[in-house]
Symmetry: C2
């Protein structure tokens, strides 16, 4: 008999806290906290910082991703590009990360992905403060992103390349604005 | 700061039940319930059925496998053959499976690996009853093992080959003995 979210939730009735610890364990196994740095000409420095929380699962167990959707009250499920049978549960809207994902993992702590989560949290919260809109802040966050998940292994661009590119970009930023001499602002 | 089992256990002090739900989630992500069928000339029918519970983890997070060792009060950790950085926590002694692993997952239920665990449990308990010592029982358990984890995909031998081999083996078994006509037993 295939498992359903309804059946799972029934088995966890009255045990919400226990379900959340189960989810923390599952995420420590199959989850990912990543911060992509993507070329994006219309963004301030030509790059976009994109924190994303994901859980992978073979399509045979879609119910587990639906369970994540139920627990986090948000997130989309789609087929991972380039793979046939792997589904991806994903949350990347900053509001949802700040209001749903981060409070959850502050309360139900991770072990394996503890450090990646810590950097992910720092970056997402700093972006909420607009830190990525200053050149210095942008570089700090990108550098931190590159310390996560095997030190930038598998990334398309090197950290040096991105930092160099950001330094030479003409991006407007609050920092740039602050430095503009009076009378020209 | 690297995480240690001691630090993890401190954070779970007084919350043993929650730790166990975390472990169930982790196992649903990174664990495996497998039943190998291995050529073994000295065994009754020339094959050995070998149930094994495992958890994999990158060597950077050995602490999580040590945590499993602490939770199950048994199991060994070793480097997975053929891989450089993956460690393997493994329990395959039948006594430990029956007394430690099965009672744990009967109490802290799995979602993703529910069906694999169910077959694993049936096979391990049936072996404890000696079912694999009859030709018929042996074939039933091997057939059940082949329904687990992607229907025997990645196995060295096909189910048909093993069953054929078992049928033609000269293995002594309780079934054979029972069928021996009186006077010749």
């Amino acid at each position: 008999m295939p498992n359903t979210v309804k059946a799972i939730l029934t088995s966890f009735r009255g045990k919400r806290e226990l379900l959340h610890y189960y989810i923390a364990g599952l995420v420590d196994g199959e989850g990912s906290f990543s911060v992509a740095v993507i070329r994006h000409p219309s963004q301030t420095f030509g790059w976009m910082i994109n924190p994303c929380f994901q859980v992978y699962q073979h399509e045979a167990h879609r119910e587990i991703l639906e369970l994540c959707q139920w627990v986090f009250k948000t997130g989309s499920i789609y087929r991972k590009s380039g793979t046939n049978h792997v589904l991806n549960f994903s949350i990347d809207a900053r509001r949802n990360l700040l209001e749903k994902v981060i409070p959850f993992f502050d309360r139900y702590p991770l072990i394996v992905k503890r450090d990646a989560y810590k950097s992910f949290r720092t970056i997402t919260k700093a972006m909420e403060q607009g830190e990525h809109q200053t050149r210095e802040g942008f570089c700090r966050l990108v550098t931190l992103a590159f310390t996560m998940n095997q030190q930038g292994k598998g990334r398309k661009h090197t950290l040096e390349y991105i930092l160099e590119s950001v330094k030479s970009a003409h991006g407007e930023s609050s920092e740039t604005l602050r430095r503009t001499p009076q009378g020209r602002g």
